[in-house]
C-alpha cells in the first residue's frame, strides 16, 4: 500500500513537474485523454468513423514529416507507400487468409521494400528534382495496377477484406492506440541521435558527411522508416474500408498528405498529426456547404501559409510558450523568468 502510494505520489510529481508546466504538453495530455475516453461519451458510428480515418491519415502525415520534414528529402509520392501497404495487406488477407493482425505488418514491410526501391535511385537526386521524381512513382505503380487486373482488380480494387475487428468501438481503439503509439515512436525517433542526424542532413548534408557520418545510409533509413509507418496506415485503411483500390495511389492523395503536413508545421511530428485532426473533421463537417468545401480548404491553406509559413501548430506554440534565451528551455509565455535557469525572458 505504502509502496503504491509512493509511486503514485512520484507519478504525480513527475506529472506536475513535466506536464503541467508547459501548456503544449497539457494540450497533448488532454488530447490523449480525449481520444482515449471519447467512446465513453458517445458511440455514434459516424463520428467514430471520421475519427478512425483521421487517425489513419494522422499516421500517414506524420510519416511524411519523418522523411521529408526531418531529412528534407521532399517526397511528393507518399501515396506510393500508402498504396503498397494497402494493396499488400489486402492481397495477403484475401488470398493467403492472413488476419489483419498479420497482414498489416506484412503490408508495412512491403512498403519498407518500396521505400528502399525508390530510395536508392532517389539518393542521387535533391530538392525539386527529388520532389518531382517521387511524384512519378505512384503513377507508374498505378499503371501496373491497371495492367494486371487479374491480380489487382484494376479500378475495382481488392475488395471483400476482413474487418479490422468485430465492432466499431474496437476498430476505434485499435486505430487510435496505434496512432498514439506510432506517433510517439516517430517523435521519439526524431528526438534520438538518429533524429538529430536526420535533421542535420536537412540543414547541411555536406557538413554531416564531413563529420564522418554515412548520410546515404541514414537517408535510406529515413525512407524505409517512413515507408513502414505509411504502410501501416495503408494496411489499416484497407482493412477499415474493406477495399484497397487505385484511389490510394492517386496524385491527389500525395498532395493532400503534403498539404496536411505543411499546414500543421513540418519538422515537428505533432504538427501534421494536429493538422489532420483539425482539417479532416472540419472538411467533413463542411458538408453543410458542400459546394464550397474544397475551395475553403484551399483558401485557408493559402492564408495559413501567408501569415504563418512555419505551419499552424508551431505558430500557436510560439504564442503560448517562449524559449529561454540562455538555456533553450521552453517556458509558458506568461512567465517573467526561465523556470530552470531563472534568466529573464523577453
Amino acid at each position: 500500500m505504502a509502496i503504491a502510494g509512493f509511486y503514485l505520489r512520484r507519478l504525480y510529481t513527475i506529472f506536475k513537474g513535466e506536464v503541467l508546466v508547459l501548456p503544449s504538453r497539457v494540450v497533448v495530455f488532454l488530447f490523449f485523454l480525449a481520444v482515449l475516453f471519447l467512446p465513453i461519451v458517445t458511440q455514434d458510428p459516424y463520428l467514430l468513423r471520421i475519427l478512425i480515418l483521421t487517425s489513419i491519415f494522422a499516421i500517414l502525415a506524420a510519416s511524411w514529416d519523418l522523411l521529408s520534414g526531418f531529412t528534407g528529402q521532399l517526397n511528393f509520392g507518399h501515396a506510393l507507400f500508402f498504396g503498397v501497404g494497402a494493396y499488400t495487406s489486402a492481397l495477403l488477407n484475401l488470398h493467403a487468409r492472413i488476419p489483419p493482425s498479420g497482414s498489416i505488418p506484412l503490408g508495412a514491410l512491403a512498403a519498407v521494400l518500396a521505400g528502399l526501391i525508390i530510395g536508392i535511385p532517389c539518393l542521387r537526386l535533391r530538392g525539386t528534382y527529388l520532389a518531382l521524381t517521387t511524384l512519378a512513382f505512384p503513377i507508374i505503380l498505378m499503371g501496373i495496377v491497371f495492367a494486371i487486373p487479374s491480380i489487382t482488380g484494376g479500378e475495382l480494387g481488392v475488395s471483400g477484406l476482413d474487418r479490422l475487428s468485430r465492432s466499431r468501438v474496437s476498430d476505434y481503439y485499435i486505430t487510435v492506440v496505434l496512432m498514439l503509439g506510432l506517433c510517439t515512436i516517430m517523435w521519439k525517433i526524431t528526438d534520438s541521435n538518429t533524429g538529430v542526424i536526420f535533421h542535420a542532413i536537412r540543414e547541411d548534408e555536406l557538413a554531416v558527411r564531413t563529420a564522418g557520418i554515412n548520410t546515404t545510409r541514414y537517408k535510406l533509413l529515413a525512407f524505409s522508416l517512413s515507408g513502414f509507418f505509411a504502410g501501416i496506415a495503408g494496411g489499416l485503411y484497407a482493412h477499415f474500408m474493406r477495399i484497397a483500390g487505385p484511389s490510394t495511389l492517386e496524385v491527389s492523395m500525395s498532395f493532400t498528405v503534403v498539404i496536411w503536413a505543411v499546414f500543421g508545421g513540418i519538422v515537428t511530428i505533432y504538427g501534421p498529426v494536429g493538422a489532420v485532426f483539425i482539417l479532416f473533421p472540419v472538411l467533413e463537417f463542411l458538408r453543410f456547404w458542400p459546394e464550397f468545401r474544397m475551395l475553403m480548404f484551399a483558401v485557408v491553406i493559402l492564408f495559413i501559409l501567408l501569415y504563418m509559413p512555419d505551419g499552424l501548430l508551431p505558430w500557436l506554440r510560439d504564442k503560448i510558450e517562449e524559449e529561454c534565451p540562455r538555456c533553450k528551455i521552453r517556458n509558458v509565455a506568461t512567465r517573467k523568468t526561465c523556470r530552470v535557469c531563472t534568466a529573464p525572458l523577453d
Binding site: 484494376g154 475495382l156 477495399i243
Partner: protein
Amino acid sequence: MKRFGFVLGVLLAVCLVMTIGSPAWGAKVIKIGVIGPMKFVQGKGHWNGATLAAEEINAKGGIQVGKKKMKIELVKADSNEFLSMTDATNAMELAITRHKVDFLVGGFRTEAVLAMQDIAMDYKKIFIGCGAAHPKLCTRVAQNYDRYKYWFRGTPFNSMYLARTCFIHMATVGAILKKMLNIPKVKVAIVAEKAMWVDPMVAAAKGFIPKMGMEVAGIWRPSAVATDVTAELSAIQRAGAHMIFTTFSSSVGITFARQAGELKIPAAQVGINVEAQKDGFWDATEGMGNYVMTMNTYARGVEYNELTAPFVDKYIKKFAEVPTYTADTYAAIIYTLAPTIEEAGTLDADKLVAVLENRECMVPSGKIRYTKDTEGRHLHDLKWGPGYLTSLGTQWQDGKLKGVWPNRWKASKDAPEITYKGIVPYKIAPWIIDKYKK
C-alpha cells in the same frame, strides 16, 4: 475577441442543432438517401430522377404503409466518389446513421460502390444501385446471401448484357455497311478505355466478332481520361477498319469522337459511349460527334412502353435535358420501392427483400425482373431480353440523338420482330460512303 467567441459559439450551436435536430423530423416520413457524385452529371441524374419520383408520390399523398400514408423525404448525400473514396463512405455512413435513411439509391464508380455497399449491408439497408455495371456487385449477393441480400441492381443491367447488346448493334450496323457499300468483310477496330468493367467485353468482342462474319483489325486501350487519341486514330485508319467498337464511360469518349470527326476517320463508331448519351455531347464535340452511335437508355420520342413517354417528357420539361441512365433512380423509387412497400405493408427490410426479389414490374425502360445464377441462388441482378430490359441504340444525326435500334429486331429465329415507337433508320456518315462506295 469576445465578440468572435460569441459568434463562434452561436455557429457551433447551429451546427449542433442542424445535426441532432434533423432526424427528429423523420418520424412520419420514409427517408430515401440519394447518394451520388452530386457535382457531376451522374449525381445530378440521380438527384433529378429521385426528386421527380418523390414529388409525384407526395402529390398523391404518399405511400400506403399498412394503415397509414407516409410521405417521402429525400436525403441528398454527395459521395464525391470520383475524387475521394473516403468521402463516399463517409457520406454513406452519415446518411444512414445521422439522417436515418430507410432506403438508398444511387452510386456510380464501382470501387466506391463496393465500399458503400458494405456499409449499407452492415446496417441492413436496402440499397438500389443506379450506375455501376460490374457483375461483382451482384455475385456478392449469391455468395453471401444473408449479408448482401439488401442490395439490388436498379440500372444498368450488368456488363455481360451490355456487351451482348453492343454485339447486336455491331451486327446490325455491320450488315448495313455490307449491304450499302459492298464491303465483303467488315473490319472492326476495338477501342476500349482501360477499365475493369470493359475487360470482359473486350475479350468477348475478340471472340465474337469473327463469329459474326467480321474481322478484328486491332485492339486499342487508351486511358479513360486521355486527352489526345490522334495516335490511336491514325493507327486505326492504317489498320483499315470499317467499324470501331467503342467502350467509353469517361471523358475519352468526347475526345475520341471529336478527333475522329475532325479527321473524318472512315469507320462507323458503334458501342457504348456514355458521354454521347448526354445532350451536351453535341456541343462538347463542336458537332464533330455526328453519326456516333451508342447504347442508351432514353431518347427523345422513343417509347419502350406506355410509361416511357410520361417520364421522359416530364423530365425534359423540368430539367431541360433527356434523362441519362442514372436518372433511373426515378424508376427505382416509384416503380420498385413504392409498390413493394405498399404490397408488404411494412418498412422492415427483410420482409421487403422477400417481396422485392420475386416481383416483376414495369418501368419506363422496360420490365424489371431479378435473376438467379445457374445454381438457383438469388443474384438481384436484372433480367435482359425482349420483353424485359433491352435498352436502345441511339445515333447522333445532325444535332439530334435519335433512336435507331431495335429496328425490326428478332431476338432469335422465330421470335417476333421488335421495333419500339419512334425508331428511325441508321445513317452512314457521308465520308464513309465517299471512301468505300465504288
